[in-house]
């Protein structure tokens, strides 16, 4: 019944052994592999850059929203895909990022650039206590408590009229005029997105990232290997919170306002949807999900009055048939094509 794996000498023929396979592993550090791996992201960035000069203003503005959500979804996926933590409370940090910019201007006349840089730090700071509390619970209870924090943040923002302007939100000319131009705004957000994703990608491939994945796979085992699981999860929560807050600050360039709905649990649901659609198990999946969700959502609203129902059905199908989302399906398709191409040559 059991296959003897390495004991069966014939088994090697599929994948030729020898110095190649062995030296291939430490390779990500080697230059050629690094270059090959960098091709796709660099090409993608170049295409995104060129879009700034080909797309119309309306689409560029939608793309600004997409970029903010790409960072939001990728940051959320550090918890979801990497650490295996389902959080329905990331909007708390997204909203805090937006409010940092808006309220900094409203109360203290802080310049946009200062608050934009400050936002991720505020997000991280708030994520510490929330993470410490929410991560005391597991799985469903963790998800529920993050949801509760999201609702709490929403209620606070709505009820403290003197500080937050309540349900109306904060509107004003706090975004520098240069960035209110669709193209400059888009290019600035693109730059921030590229840097953010690079940093998050680095975290994914770091020792910390590996330990997070190991915790996702088998928490007790990691504990038995001498790791304080709780503290590592809190750290992941804080990092995610920081980038979600940055995404919120990015969103302000698009919305030019901060309002309570940015904090509530429906907003928390967006990045989770995006990650599921694009593929939680892949790094760029959530960003792809953001693109599809944003444009797909506009189409859905046009054709279906019950668009949320349609969205729910789409999600169900994806979770059941493509657990790695669209990105996973694309990767498999790419594999098939590559094999077919090799076979032809």
């Amino acid at each position: 019944m059991s296959t003897y794996g390495h004991l069966d000498t014939d088994a090697h023929d599929v994948d030729p052994p020898g110095p190649d396979t062995r030296s291939a592993r430490p390779a990500p550090a080697s230059r050629t592999v690094l270059l090959r791996r960098a091709t796709a992201p660099v090409a993608l960035t170049a295409v995104m850059f060129l879009l700034a000069f080909t797309l119309g203003s309306t689409t560029l503005v939608t793309m600004q929203e997409v970029l903010a959500f790409a960072v939001f979804a990728t940051a959320t996926n550090l918890l979801l895909g990497q650490a295996g933590l389902v959080s329905f409370g990331q909007a708390v940090f997204f909203g805090i990022g937006s409010y940092t910019v808006a309220l900094g201007w409203l109360h203290w006349q802080l310049p946009f650039w200062a608050t934009f840089v400050l936002a991720p730090f505020v997000g991280a700071l708030v994520a510490i206590p929330i993470g410490l509390v929410a991560l005391r619970a597991r799985k469903l209870y963790f998800a529920l408590s993050t949801l509760a924090f999201s609702e709490l943040a929403y209620q606070l923002a709505e009820s403290r009229y003197n500080f937050t302007k309540g349900a109306n939100g904060v509107f004003g000319p706090f975004v520098p005029t240069a960035l209110t131009q669709p193209r400059t705004g888009y290019l600035f957000l693109l730059a921030v997105t590229v840097v953010s994703l690079l940093l998050l990608w680095k975290v994914n491939h770091s020792p910390f990232g590996l330990v997070l994945r190991a915790i996702r796979e088998n928490r007790e085992r990691v504990q038995a290997l001498g790791v304080n699981v709780y503290l590592h999860q809190v750290a992941a929560f804080v990092i995610s919170g920081a980038f979600c807050a940055l995404a919120g600050a990015m969103f302000v360039i698009y919305s030019q306002s901060g309002y309570p709905e940015l904090l509530d649990w429906t907003t928390s649901g967006w990045p989770v949807f995006m990650a599921v659609i694009g593929g939680m198990g892949t790094f760029l999946g959530p960003a792809l999900g953001a693109l599809i969700y944003q444009f797909g959502h506009d189409q859905l609203v046009l054709y279906f009055s019950d668009w949320q129902l349609v969205l729910g059905a789409v999600l169900l199908v994806i979770v059941m048939f493509w657990p790695d989302g669209l990105m996973g399906a694309l990767a498999r398709l790419g594999g098939v094509i590559r094999r077919w191409w090799k076979g032809r040559r």
Partner: protein
């Protein structure tokens, strides 16, 4: 007898008790494990071997009793602290990382050992690839290093389980039924591995096992458990000669 005094006592448990509700799974166990020996704990299913192991590694808190390891009191300390002190377990129910490759799994253990788990910047296998390959080589998994753990054969998964523990460079390695569910061939390889580790790496090993021939073949000392208590304890040949023990063990096994 002479070599008994030659070994220091590495781990010493006194009066370990563990209750599950009204049920006493471990009932006042004393255990002395000498440095550099293979010490086996045998006993029929339900004797309390696994529970005892979980007490030693801190996964469970003892209801009562003390646990001294290399001069330090460890009873009631959390698992990750116990693991840091050098007590590492390979689990009876294979407990691996299904969607990580064998190489990544061992790297995760190495990251923990070298206290690099807070490193957010470097590549995870930076400086670990060589050590990881060595560990995989030791347990005979070099050829499947890049396979996901869930795709490995049962025997290889057991070997990976041991590799995870070995990667921690333990001072005391706990193996809970390492040959459970293995084919005779796989199980023979595992036994050889354990013997080699004890001899070459000077590892101290506590082993639980239900196959008597395996146990007496490789153990320096044996403790016999039954219904949560240690009935007999001593050098392997002596315990083997103890007719009462054999009767109880074989009797309840039948």
């Amino acid at each position: 007898m002479s070599d008994e005094t030659a070994h220091d006592i590495l781990l010493s448990a006194r009066g370990l008790v563990r209750d599950f509700g009204p049920f006493r799974a471990v009932d006042g166990v004393d255990l002395d494990v000498r440095s550099g020996t293979i010490h086996s704990v045998i006993g029929p299913n339900g004797a309390g071997k696994t529970t005892l192991f979980r007490l030693l590694t801190g996964i469970l808190r003892p209801t009562a009793g003390s646990l001294e390891f290399a001069g330090e009191q460890l009873a009631g300390r959390p698992t990750h602290v116990v693991a840091r002190r050098g007590i590492v377990q390979a689990f009876q129910t294979t407990s691996i990382f299904p969607r990580l490759t064998a190489h990544e799994s061992v790297c995760a253990a190495l990251v923990s050992k070298h206290r690099r788990s807070r490193d957010l910047i470097t590549w995870f296998h930076r400086g670990l690839a060589g050590e990881a390959s060595q560990v995989l080589e030791t347990v005979g998994l070099s050829d499947v290093a890049d396979e996901q753990a869930r795709a490995l054969s049962h025997g290889d998964q057991r070997a990976l389980e041991v590799a995870l523990a070995l990667a921690m460079s333990p001072r005391l390695l706990l193996l809970d039924e390492p040959t459970a569910g293995m084919s005779p061939f796989e199980s023979h390889k595992m036994v050889q591995l354990v013997q080699r580790l004890a001899k070459e790496e000077q590892l101290t090993v506590i082993l639980s096992e239900h196959d008597m021939d395996t146990v007496f073949g490789i153990s320096d000392r044996v403790s016999v458990m039954h219904q949560g208590r240690v009935l007999a304890d001593g050098p392997a040949p002596e315990v083997r000669r103890n007719a009462d023990v054999m009767a109880i063990y074989l009797g309840s096994e039948a």
